[in-house]
Each structure stands twice: as C-alpha cells, then as structure tokens.
Amino acid sequence: MNAAVLPQPAARPMKLVCPAGTPPALKAAVDNGADDVYLGFKDETNARNFAGLNFDDRSLREGIDYAHRKGAQVLVALNTYPQPGSWRKWQAAVNRAASLGVDAIIVADAGLLAYAAKAHPQLRLHLSVQGSATSHEAINFYHERFGIKRAVLPRVLSVEQAEKVIARTPVEIEVFGFGSLSIMVEGRCALSSYATGESPNTHGGCSPAKSIRWQQRPDALESRLGGVLIDRFGAEDHPGYPTLCRGRFVVNGDTYYPFEEPTSLNTLELLPRLQAMGVAAIKIEGRQRSPVYVETVTRVWREALDACFRDRERFRVKPAWQDALAGISEGHQCTLGAYHRPWK
C-alpha cells in the first residue's frame, strides 16, 4: 500500500466486534481482546436461531458481568423481522435486553427500531446488516428517525463505495472483516424459505438444520435442503454446509457454482485502508461457530488491529495470521468479496 495516498492516521482504533453463540465463546472473545461481543436470545428474534445456541437471561446476565469486568461491551442482536401476530415477542426481547443492561441492540426492522427508540431512549441502537441499508441516505434515514449510533454495512459495497458512505453519515460504520461470505444482500434473500419455508427474515436462520439431509450414495455424498439437491461431493471434495448460494447447479449443461464457491471473507490486507477511511468497527461473522473458532479469530484480529493502529504504513499481514485463519475457514479459499470490485 502506498503510504503517500493515505490520509492522516485515525484518532481512534477500530473496534473488534466478535460473535458469541455460547457463554464459552463469549469468554473466548473477551479473553482474547474483543471490544464488543454480539449475541442473541434463544429464539427467532435473532438471525442465528439454531438449536442449542444463544443465551437465556441468566447466561446473558453472567456474560454481561464478565464482559464489563474486562472492559468489553455486549451487543444483543434482535435482527429478524417481527412476524405478524408475534410482535409482542420482539417487543419483549427489546425490553429484556434493556433491563439486563446490554450496551446496545442490533435491529433490522424499522417498526422495532421505532419502538425501541420510543420505549428506551437511553438504549443504544445499531442498525443490523439485515436492515439492507446500502447507502448513506438509507443509513441517515434510520439516524434521523431513530437515532441509530452505528450501522453494519451489507457486504455489497466496494471499498470506494464504503468510503463515500462513511464520509457522508454521522453514524459509526461497522464492516464485515472475516467469516462466512454472504452472496446476496442481507435482509433481501428468500432463497432459504423458497426451499424450506424458513429464512433469516422470517425465522432467524438460513438453511434450517431440520430441512437438511446428507445421503451417502455409492459415488457421492449428497446434500439436500428441503428435498432440493444442493451438491454432490466426491471422495476428494470438501463438503460445506448446504446453503443454496454455495450449491453446485446446472446452467445450460455446465455444472458449477453459479453464485459462489465455498469461500470465506477475509479483509486483513485491507485493514490500513479501512482504518484510514474511518471505519468504526470490524465485525467477525460466526455466532454458530465453536469457542475454538472465536478464540482463534479474535486473537489474530486483535493482533492485526493493534499492529495496524500502531503503524498503519508499515502494516503487513503476517503469514501466521493467515495460516491460523485458514485453519478455521469454510472452504479453502479466502476472498475480499465485494470490497474488491471485480468480484462482482
């Protein structure tokens, strides 16, 4: 990276926002240097509504205590769309989060934001990536109406586009740094419900486990979602979780990945640029992943963020970081995704 084109060093380091699906993951995140930990309740009010995952009131209270003792903040994701007839459930989740003393809630639905802003004016609001706000004007809409303090950018913008957004909004901008790569605009994908009846927007999960079938055939391992064949894996292939946008399908006789290969997003090499343009926080994906994953990613990104903040111009991605991240990535490739324009 050419030092001459970089603007002045940022006054504040970027925050590291790490996932926690379980209390041990929360501890792993806090112990390894997360600034913020985000998590969800055990129901469809969050977009990682999977069996056995997430927090009840007691484990959340303990988690908040633990994080606060060590100087970290806890953000609760209430980032699904309240479904007709069950508004009270989402409303109650906002109230619970507020009464437990979380540091912010991450919300997608405009109606729920309106409620939270009115009922809990002191509660800090973040706009979820599921809110699909892809321009500064959309983000400013949520700022003007509900006073959101931070917005998570959907993984669709190039670095240049993200930079323009940041320059034109008073809202802190959080971007995805690492993890499973969303191909579709978050909050705008119904592929999962088309095959299974459940999607992130409606039920808080993509490709629900109960709709997945693995079948070992003589020649291949098959994965199906809601009966739809997503992929067939030969002996040498590496199977991935059967989400539709990672499937192999046939278009005009060509069998390939029409949407995306199983890859992970990894933006370590962009850190100096992201810091220079004023990104407030870097988000790590993976509330459904294990404490080992959280520990590894948090440790690597803490080190990288500190190194970048100390000396942006001399920042180099260490091979050891990439090795550690490759060891826990889905698929064997990493990509810059939409940050790098030719990906589109």
């Binding site: 109606g111 809110g131 004007e137 009846g197 927007n201 409606t202 949407f259 589109k344």
Partner: protein, 309 residues
C-alpha cells in the same frame, strides 16, 4: 379487486419494451409500474422514455407508478433514484429506505415489496411517512398478510405478488455475467439474451431457479389466480402480475375474469397453465416453502412431484 402490471424485471430490447407497453394500454389492468428496478447497467430505456410510456398509459386510463431500484450501491444509483422520486408526473414505488427518505413529506408513495414490511408496526411507520399502498414481501403468507392488514393502519391499500417468477434475492454480484465468465462492469449486457431469465437446474434435473442478472428468481411461476376470494377476504385490494415475454395479455385476461367471478378458480388455473414458462407454485401464500404448489397437490392427479421430495 384491482390488477397491476408489476415493473418489468428482465432486460428486453428497447423495441420489445415499447411494444409490450403499447399492448398493455389495452389490457384490463388498473395500474402499471414502470422503470428499471433490478440493475443500473440496463440502459435500453432512459427515465424520459419510461415517462413517455407512462404518459401513453395514463392517457389510456391507467394509474402509472415509477419504481425505484431494489438495490442502491453507487452515487449514480442514488441520482437515478432521486430523479425518479422527484418526477412531477407519477406516483413512485419506493424499494429501499433511501427512496422512502426522499419521498416522505414530499409525496404519497407505494411501499414496495423490498421494504420488508412483515408487521403492522412497520406498516404504520411507513403510512405516517406517506405510504398509501404497500406490496407484501413474497415470503408473507395469506394469514400473515391478513394479520398485518387487521392490525395495521386504516386506509392503506394492500397489494400482493400474484403472478410470475418470484424475485427471491438480490446481490452485488451479477450471476448472468458470472455464467458468461464476465465481470459485472464488463457484462456485455448478456441479460438481454434471456427474456424470462436464465434457467438453473439442480444436478438431478429439477428446474429450480432462474438467474436474472443480480437478481435470483424462482423457476416456478407463482400463481394466485385460484386464490382471489381468499385474497379479498385477507384484505388484499390489488394483485400484481409480473411481466413475462409471451402471453402476458392472456394472463391478464384470465386474472380479470377470475377476479370478476366470470371464471371459476379451477378454470383459471387450467387456462393459465399453458401460458406459464414453467410449473406453478403458491407455497408462500399457504405458509409453506415457496416452491410448493398446494393447488397442484389438491387438484391435479400428478402434482409437480419433482419440486419437493
């Protein structure tokens, strides 16, 4: 029950578009949505062209609405959205919150299907901001729509996606370009070769999705032609029919007759079948996976069994 012609989701040659809307002027639809909503690189028609088409349709007695982009990425996208929002001639359908912001306080608008209105609180908010009609997200079931209408603000009109391949997802990446080993910035506008989308099958031969540039649609064609009574009971006031390249006039005629009670539900389904580019589906409406055809299960001897194992 009113009928609307949804915005054209595909990329057709200019002449084909002009011809389509010349014909539409004589179809029994109440409202026509115009404009490019999918991809800002599609420029066979400029905003002024769309407005000219709109004027002709308005002259034929149609309500004309201009729709904004489903996904805004660049400054140019924002400028186009503002030009649409500020047009003096026609009402606007907002498909993202930047468009809502541009319209609120300035003009009544239609809250488009991509605004994710899943509950009455969000609908009330949009109504306060000036929405006079909302289009339900495709995932929302009849029961869900009825609940939102019952709990929502009075006087707002409800529209549902009643016919066509379902727009299921949008991406920053162009899948038609990817199929052709091209990047979006150098896509050679290959969408124009696929007037009803580029078919995508599973490896065991199930017709599953179609690629439409940055948009992904269902391969199956959603049809609620046999559900007009229940739609009315749920509070739906307008049925959206999504343009396809052939037989659209016939499709409109079937829906008009069915809505007027001149065609029994079973006959409507039977007449539509040969007009569809693929099998029918209606699962979302019934609270099931969208790909399912409840009508097919209930009324045909051989339902589309390959669609759902």
């Amino acid at each position: 029950m009113k009928l609307s012609l949804g915005p054209l989701l595909y990329y057709w040659p200019r002449e084909a578009v002009l011809d389509f809307y010349r014909q539409a002027a004589s179809w029994p639809v109440d409202t026509v949505y115009l404009g490019e909503t999918v991809c800002s690189r599609r420029r066979e028609l400029k905003l002024s062209d769309w407005i000219a088409i709109g004027e002709a349709l308005a002259g034929a007695g149609k309500e004309v609405v201009l729709s904004t982009y489903e996904l805004i990425e660049s400054d140019a996208d924002l400028r186009t959205m503002h030009a649409v929002a500020a047009n003096a001639a026609f009402r606007v359908e907002a498909n993202d919150m930047a468009a809502v912001r541009a319209l609120s306080g300035n003009a009544p608008f239609v809250a488009g299907p991509f605004l994710n209105v899943y509950n009455a609180a969000t609908l009330s908010l949009l109504a306060e901001l000036g929405a006079v009609r909302w289009v339900a997200p495709v995932e929302l079931s009849r029961e869900g729509i009825a609940a939102v209408v019952a709990e929502g603000p009075a006087g707002i009109e409800t529209e549902v996606f009643a016919y066509g391949r379902l727009p299921l997802a949008v991406s920053a990446r162009c899948f038609t370009a990817r199929y052709n080993n091209l990047t979006k910035d150098h896509c050679e506008f290959r969408c124009i070769e696929h007037p009803d989308g580029l078919a995508l099958d599973t490896q065991d031969g199930q017709h599953f999705l179609v690629l439409n540039g940055v948009q992904t649609q269902s391969a199956a064609v959603q049809s609620l032609a046999s559900e007009i009574g229940p739609a009315r009971a749920a509070g739906v006031g307008m049925l959206r029919l999504s343009p396809q390249s052939t037989g659209m006039g016939e499709v409109v005629a079937v829906f008009r007759e069915a809505a007027d009670g001149a065609l029994a539900p079973h006959d409507a389904a039977r007449r539509l079948a040969p007009l569809m580019p693929a099998a029918a589906c209606d699962g979302y409406w019934h609270g099931k996976p969208g790909i399912v055809s409840e009508w097919g299960r209930a009324h045909e001897r051989a339902p589309h069994a390959e669609s759902h194992a």
